[in-house]
């Protein structure tokens, strides 16, 4: 399931990327002219307090919202300039999402939740879904429904769902936000594996600074701006994370 073998991980270049919600007096400037370069295959943690624009940044990079200004180049192609149809294709083929609240469909089993997304791309969706679930250690729970799974297990299904299309770009919004320490560590380990081992560009948003130490790089945000950008020289293993 090496994503690197199919689509090389993308390099990202953000140029004056801005997002304003609403108009006039009600306008909220969620992102203020962000400039950022992310190398292919890098594991970047975006850190910042609540309301600093982390989710907004992820949404723009993932092509589920469009910027108010600026350019967002993925391998040199401007996502901001894409048509709706092109952006759907971009999401379908290049991006995997992991959310804080898992967002599993309650009426579908673990396998079906993964398969639903796997069907969007060519190939044997069921086999690919089983493989993805196996990688997150859930092969014995494939037929269970979300209500019968723990939070950590649900998030593992969500990770399997995010990677089953083998997207070169993995975007995670507070993936450990609603999990306890141990489970959070497992999830982090799985995500890091999905990034590093399979050669994906991985962006992980959190307001927990300890998590940041597992990444290659930490981008700090405040009030819609990047206030610090550091390379982590000695990333720690997820098992060492404490919070």
């Amino acid at each position: 399931m090496a994503a690197s073998g199919q689509t090389p991980p993308p390099g990202l270049a953000l140029r004056g990327l801005s997002k304003t919600y609403g108009e006039g007096r009600a306008a909220v400037r969620a992102l203020k002219s962000v400039d950022l370069n992310i190398a292919p295959g890098q594991f970047v943690v975006v850190l910042g307090p609540s309301g600093s624009g982390k989710t907004t940044l992820l949404n723009l990079i993932g092509g589920i919202e469009s910027p108010s200004a600026g350019r967002l180049l993925i391998d040199g192609v401007d996502v901001a300039a894409m048509s709706v149809e092109e952006r759907t294709t971009y999401r379908r083929e290049r991006v995997g999402f992991v959310f804080q609240f898992f967002n599993l469909i309650p009426t579908l089993s673990a396998l079906e939740n993964v398969q639903l997304v796997a069907e969007l791309v060519k190939g044997d969706a069921e086999a690919a879904s089983r493989r993805a679930l196996e990688r997150v250690g859930l092969n014995s729970r494939v037929d269970h429904f979300p209500s019968a799974l723990s939070g950590g297990e649900q998030q593992r299904v969500a990770i399997a769902r995010a990677v089953v299309k083998e997207p070169p770009l993995l975007l995670c919004d507070e993936p450990t936000g609603s999990l306890d320490l141990d489970t959070g560590r497992q999830i982090l380990a799985l995500l890091r594996a999905a990034g590093r081992r399979d050669g994906r560009t991985l962006l992980l948003v959190t307001h927990n600074s300890v998590i940041a130490r597992v990444a290659d790089r930490v981008v700090r945000m405040r009030s819609g701006e990047v206030v610090a950008d550091e390379t982590v020289t000695q990333p720690i293993a997820p098992e060492e994370v404490e919070w």
């Binding site: 379908r92 991006v95 999402f97 967002n103 579908l108 069907e119 969007l120």
Partner: protein, 424 residues
């Protein structure tokens, strides 16, 4: 496809609500199928009876009947003409019960060419037994007159006994009405017998009149032919001319049957309207509660039209689930209704057919009702922003209840009652 599984499981999960919608659609379409099919069956039953018994297209009363008959018979669109005598005279039954009955002349030995009778029991008129008469079935049923019974008619020489040779049905008296002015004639006061010339010749001229009956070639232009016959009749001083549609019994029947036709649309529309409203509210709520799921689908690269079709499918599935068993049940019910109806008013012919067009229309009704009511929720779903997957895991804070209510019923705020609902 997994989305289809989601559809079925979502429906099973809300099975109570969907069952209510499906049941309402089912009832609406059963009503439609049953009443519309019964309407078609009854029309076919009458038509078949009228064809078999050569029910007159036009009847003229009085005037120079020989001249009228000759001239009408010469018309190319006319295949048969009959003249006959009809007399309204008192009958006496069971010793004491008197009523003003009607004696209609028939040729003894063979059926007339127009307005024949169907012998239900006994035999047709026998020229060798001039005192024999045929009793119309309603009178027979009311007074228990069977072949071999006798009763009296009032002739110039006083009460004369007649014998019942047979009991018959007549296309003119399926609904036994004395006249167009007296549609609701009681069988206590009115009865019809058919008799040969032997009996009629003994009756006083004042009570009797002559009639000409015309039967048209199948496929001829009825309205034009009726006008032609009417012209001829009035030229020869007929006192009355009426068409098949105006014939008292038939006019009453057609009105009744038309009632089925009207019912077959009105009630079903009410039910389908109610089902549509229920589906609309149910699906709008469902879309609202599934915003995060919809966001997730869109974020993962599902197209908006796929999401639209997915939610439209809930309406279509409900429509189909209600409609398919309903058209079958409707057709069966129509059979029963037709049988009951023809038995209740003694129509001697019952035609029951399966009408593919009714089945098809019923299924279409269900699908259209489902699709129309799912349209707006499906559009709402397809316009969800994919960012809902990120942010919409919990309903937005703020006015909460009120805003979610106005979200469920987008136009509720525009109505007085809706304002109250959204403001509460």
């Amino acid at each position: 496809m997994i989305l289809r599984r989601k559809l079925l499981r979502d429906m099973r999960r809300r099975r109570g609500q969907f069952a209510a919608v499906v049941l309402t659609i089912f009832l609406g379409i059963v009503l439609f199928g049953a009443s519309y099919d019964a309407f078609l069956n009854l029309k076919a039953s009458y038509q078949s009876l009228f064809d078999d018994l050569r029910f007159a297209h036009v009847t003229t009363v009085g005037g120079d009947t020989q001249a009228i008959a000759d001239e009408v018979a010469a018309r190319p669109e006319v295949v048969a003409v009959t003249t006959r005598t009809v007399a309204d005279i008192p009958f006496r039954l069971g010793g004491n019960h008197k009523l003003l009955g009607r004696v209609v002349g028939l040729p003894a030995g063979s059926q007339p060419e127009v307005d024949q009778v169907m012998v239900l029991r006994g035999t047709y008129l026998d020229p060798a037994r001039p005192e024999g008469v045929l009793v119309e079935q309603h009178m027979s049923n009311r007074f228990g007159l069977e072949p071999g019974s006798s009763f009296e008619v009032l002739g110039p020489q006083g009460w004369t006994q007649v014998r019942v040779a047979g009991v018959v049905a007549s296309p003119e008296y399926i609904w036994p009405a004395r006249s167009r002015q007296d549609i609701l004639t009681s069988t206590d006061d009115f009865g019809v017998v058919f008799a040969g010339a032997g009996l009629l010749e003994t009756l006083p001229n004042t009570a009797a009149h002559r009639e000409v009956l015309a039967f048209f070639r199948p496929g001829s232009d009825g309205t034009a032919s009726e006008a032609v016959v009417r012209d001829i009749a009035l030229r020869h001083e007929a006192v009355d001319v009426y068409t098949r549609a105006e014939q008292p019994s038939n006019a009453a029947l057609q009105e009744d049957v038309q009632g089925f036709g009207d019912l077959s649309l009105m009630f079903p529309l009410l039910f389908l309207g109610a089902a549509g409203m229920a589906t609309y509210v149910l699906l709008t709520r469902m879309v609202y509660s599934q915003r995060a799921q919809i966001g997730l689908l869109l974020a993962n690269g599902f197209r908006r039209r796929t999401v639209f079709r997915h939610y439209l499918a809930y309406g279509l599935a409900a429509g189909l689930a209600g409609a398919v068993p309903a058209v079958v049940a409707g057709a069966l019910l129509a059979r029963i209704i037709t049988g009951f109806y023809t038995a209740a008013i003694s129509v001697p012919v019952t035609v029951v057919r399966l009408h593919p067009e009714t089945l098809l229309a019923g299924v279409l009704f269900g699908l259209v009702a489902g699709a129309v009511s799912a349209l707006s929720p499906a559009l709402l779903a397809s316009r969800t922003t994919p960012a809902e997957a990120m942010r919409g895991s919990k309903p937005p804070a703020g006015p909460g209840e009120a805003s979610s209510r106005s979200w469920c019923l987008p136009c509720a705020g525009c109505l007085p009652a809706g304002k109250w609902c959204c403001a509460a």
